[in-house]
């Protein structure tokens, strides 16, 4: 730097500094807060790094008695305890305030902002006089129930809304994007029964039993729980999160149909539970003023549930189809980065649109993921397929492990825990019972109409896979205003930790004990969460779209199976619906939304020909049938497919696969 210039400028400095002491103290305070935030993030980053390294060690040494999610929880617990008991407390300063004398305020909610005036003179206990005659803005945070409880310690905690807006969407989207639709559709009946009816049933049973239990408890506790509270607890503890079990399944190559049922159910029951809990809250809001039960209100809640679920589904599906149209009719695929960005933005927009419309973003993003996989994926360039797949895989991995780490840490650091031993014990018992009520009676009913029945050991395994996870925790931590809600959070956290660590660890033994066959050479059909055992040896393992496998779509399977099975059994109505949907999908939606053949010009009736021609791309005419079949397959959505499936599936074989339970 030019020294002459510099020294000549120095004269400006003199007398130029007059920032007040308070501003600087405020700056220092802001810096401190920023450092604390960074430290919190750093703690979680280190925890995740540690988890990743330990997972590697476990995979390397083939440890199976503890899964990565269990590991994340345990590391979280240890670090949480250290922070709680070892760390220095960063004290929060308080002041009590009253409204200004001449205040007029006529709303039934507390104001958003308090304008706090420091008076000219303030009674001080010692030391220098504080900041006289200034006004500061304070924003609303929550109600203080016990004024004497001075400590609102926010060490290593995050705003619960982060879970719903940042952490859950990629997890759920990835589940939808990765869903192997072939096996999902095959077991659709069972999956829908378990996920829709089962979850509602489980919530109701748990809610009712908990309300009964609570009434038997000491009066102080009993009075703080309403039936709606316990029903809410039932809804939030009902969804399952069988990550751990599924990871073991995919390692041990367990029967695909069992896998599909557990995965499909867990994907859908998250969505169901979320909508259900929302409906319960809406009911509470609308009818609490009356105090009593109203049949119209109850029906309204059911209407809410159905309406919100189907509208959210619609939003997600439409956004997925819209993305498919955009990628089909523009040449944005020439620039894979733009294409990937578009894909990510549209998928997140589905979530946001649903949230803005007071629907359920998670449901929207789930069905958006399914549509993106079914339609848009076929239009993407190879680079974008690869990129979106890998991106969401990584995001899902990080988000999942973060949430389980956080469950561990927050057990010690979250300030609003309320340990109530009776409630916790009751919670454990009823949630187990709720899972049983979901699986066994519904399996019995399903087996009445289902040709390959669900055998008992599969039912036991379905029951055993009822681990609780991210969604339960996210719902529980969302609202911790009242003591009842705090007790729910504590109980939920403990149930999640116990099931993930203990049940997850025992899954291998449970498989052996229940004599569920493993390693049956079904590796090409295994609906693995793909990354679990991707193992490369220095070369790229991504195989999407490179395989030679030609697979059969669900409706084609249905069609082919009709022939040997006849169509006189109880499932014929369902099969007809599936055939209808299959025809609609292959004749209208696929040709419209993707480059798949046959083009619309061949599938639509004659008078629609001009419109059809408009909606068909040159690529669709020119591309060979075979190359499109390949990109269209389910299997190109799964990284881990070392063996190709047989090139043609004869009806008898597929029939055998569907009836695969026979080999138990």
């Amino acid at each position: 730097m030019n020294p002459i210039l510099k020294s000549s400028l120095l004269i400006y400095f003199i007398g130029a500094c007059d920032a007040s002491g308070t501003d600087i103290a405020l700056d220092a305070k802001a810096t401190l807060l920023h450092r604390i935030d960074s430290l919190n993030l750093l703690i979680y980053t280190c925890l995740l790094t540690l988890t990743v390294l330990t997972i590697w060690v476990f995979k390397h040494r083939r440890v199976s008695w503890l899964h990565e999610t269990g590991l994340a929880v345990i590391y979280g617990l240890i670090v949480g305890a250290i922070i709680r008991y070892g760390g220095s407390t960063n004290e929060v300063t308080y002041i009590d305030a009253h409204p200004a004398p001449d205040t007029k305020y006529n709303l039934s909610v507390p104001p958003d902002i308090v304008r706090f005036h420091f008076p000219d003179k303030i009674q001080i206990s010692s030391g220098e006089a504080p900041i006289p005659n200034k006004t500061y803005a304070y924003s609303f945070r929550g109600e203080i129930v016990k004024v004497e409880q001075n400590e609102i310690d926010l060490k290593a905690t995050f705003d619960p809304e982060i879970f719903f807006n940042i952490i859950l969407p990629p997890i759920i989207f990835h589940a939808g994007y990765c869903l192997k639709r072939k096996y999902f559709f095959r077991n659709l009946g069972a999956i829908l029964t378990f996920a829709m009816v089962g979850t509602a049933l489980s919530a109701l049973v748990i809610g009712a039993l908990m309300y009964g239990c609570v009434q038997l408890m000491p009066a102080s506790l009993a009075s703080s729980f309403t039936f709606l509270d316990t029903l809410y607890f039932g809804a939030l503890i009902s969804p399952t999160d069988p990550l751990t079990v599924l990871a073991i399944f995919s390692q041990l190559k367990v029967d695909v149909n069992l896998y599909a049922m557990i995965f499909g159910e867990s994907v859908l029951n998250d969505a169901v539970a979320l909508v259900l809990s929302g409906a319960i809250q809406n009911y509470e809001k609308r009818y609490s003023s009356d105090g009593g039960f109203e049949i119209t209100g109850f029906l309204g809640a059911i209407g809410d549930f159905i309406g919100i679920f189907s509208l959210s589904l619609l939003v997600g599906a439409l956004m997925g189809c819209f993305t498919a149209l955009m990628t089909k009719f523009t040449h944005v695929r020439d620039w894979p980065l733009l294409e990937s960005a578009l894909f990510v933005l549209m998928s997140y927009a589905a979530f946001l649109i649903a949230e803005v419309c007071e629907l359920t973003g998670v449901v929207a993003v789930l069905f958006c993921g399914i549509c993106q996989a079914h339609y848009t994926y076929n239009n993407l360039s190879a680079d974008s397929r690869n990129r979106t797949k890998q991106l969401f895989e990584l995001l899902n991995f990080l988000a999942e492990n973060f949430i389980f780490t956080y469950i561990g840490v927050s057990m010690f650091t979250f300030p609003k825990h309320h340990f109530d031993p009776w409630f916790i014990i009751a919670g454990f018992l009823t949630s187990t019972l709720g899972r049983a009520v979901n699986i066994y009676p519904l399996s019995f009913l399903l087996n009445l109409g289902r040709k390959p029945p669900i055998p008992m050991n599969f039912q036991h395994m379905l029951f055993f896979s009822g681990l609780r996870g991210a969604m339960s925790f996210a719902l529980a931590i969302r609202n911790t205003v009242s003591e009842a809600r705090q007790a729910m959070l504590t109980t939920t956290s403990m149930i999640v930790i116990a099931t993930v660590v203990l049940q997850g660890g025992a899954a291998t033994h449970a498989l052996a004990y229940l004599r569920i066959p493993t390693g049956e050479g079904q590796n090409d059909e295994n609906e693995a969460l793909p990354y679990r055992d991707v193992r490369s040896n220095g070369r790229m393992v991504v195989k999407w779209g490179n395989g030679e496998n030609e697979v059969v779509m669900p409706w084609q399977l249905n069609y082919k199976e009709e022939t040997p099975r006849g169509s006189t059994d109880g499932g014929s109505e369902k099969a007809r619906l599936a055939r209808l949907w299959g025809a609609l999908d292959s004749r209208l939606l696929k040709p419209l939304l993707t480059h798949a053949r046959p083009p619309l010009t061949e599938t639509l009736p004659g008078f629609m020909r001009p419109v059809a021609r408009l909606l068909t791309t040159t690529r669709q005419y020119t591309q060979s049938d075979n190359s499109l079949r390949r990109t269209d397959s389910d299997s190109d959505l799964c990284i881990d497919e070392p063996q190709p499936v047989p090139t043609s599936i004869d009806p008898q074989l597929s029939y055998n696969i569907r009836n695969g339970y026979g080999n138990v």
Copy 2:
């Protein structure tokens, strides 16, 4: 659902609902706030989608008069204006408060939490009585300067800290990870001079001139600016962000050395400006109580600057090397997902560690990125290379476009703008002058000692590339407490918008006007921001590690050039340093941190042999020299390399390339 079970449970409902009206109103309020948040995010998601689509159209139609960042800004401005003037105002409710009568408070900062008691009776203007006898917590937000200014409207705005903790790190990391080190090292002298000395000089000149200008303005304004304020303005407006220009350069294939200088300078001067502004703030904090200039304080600020910069560099570099060690000595590369997660987590940890230690995270993450590219990248599996590259490319793209959109929107919606025409005009003039003071005198000095001098038209282009961007905006919006800072934010926003839209749009013409040669077949050497013109035709275009190009490391180039050039010119000292570093890197660091050959057992002296053996992997012994050279090359960090470089570079050729300015 079983109807009998259900109806038998309904009796529980009766009398079970007694949530109070206030709680429900609070819930509704929280829902509303959540919807507003989602709507804000949705606005930006839609804006980004629109930008992506328009970029595609522009690329498709080869529009060059407006670049994507300019586009993002313009869309942002339009939507910002619509929100400002068209949207309905969501009113914020207020209440004035005073300390409770018997309060004792003895700190010089306002408290974190105000516990606001609603009294039993409150004077109401009309309607029902609000929430009596409850206590709410309010958290600190900021000072209210003008109490009468009732509207703190927070439509479509985010917490400024988001820029520093979420948006900037991926941008900066990507810059470091993508930096083509070959050309960066070749022009290191010029880059360092422009970035370090030039930025400081520019900040000082702008600061001094602005202080002079402010003194000439109306008294009310003059009194609100101290010299430190204007100096801070100088520091924040000095860093350049030549995205637009570089995108055009890479399209038109402009001289690589010019490209490297502009890119290298802009990467480094972001870091320099950030540390510089931090040092100014520290100085302000420490010495403001005295009011006068102190030479010790000034030296302290310079010490701060050097200390923080080098310590941050060290943190980043160490984390990069640590990641390299982890990926070298564990077999985590067998599981690419774990490896990628580790890579991302360690890189973000570098940022966080620096922030926790009160260093500069952005500087740490920049050098971490450079080290990750130089060492860790060689150890990664092909899948992880691909994945990390694509991930950061996508994040960078989204983050960049988001920040420019936000600059546009916030111009209308950010509540703390302060339009002062004199300050804005002065800002434009001095920032142009500051850029000139950076480039021309320093180029003159550099040309004294530099053998291939920087020609005048290159200097003009360097001057012209002084667009302001993300870093300036992020620094300006970080602190908007005082009126002076608000005027700075407004001026910075306007300078950013004007330079990005106008200067960015005129860049092609400037190149033509200055007769800077373009399209000279240097496409293999073009340090493109890789994605800018990646164009695939249905196949994967990722070519990293697949090319046959063997490239020469900077120190090797230096070494080879010494022979024809002799070593008697002024650059010999620099060359010796570069050789020293090259030797250290190739003999110690590369063999230690990567699988590169020759292994440590060959490069270390005899008595270190046992240690060396310990630190050498089997792979390092067995792998052939050639395959490692290939993965080691700079070029595998760049997607867009259609032609392979010559397999061997003869000394004369590389000499010609280095002296490539001759062809102007």
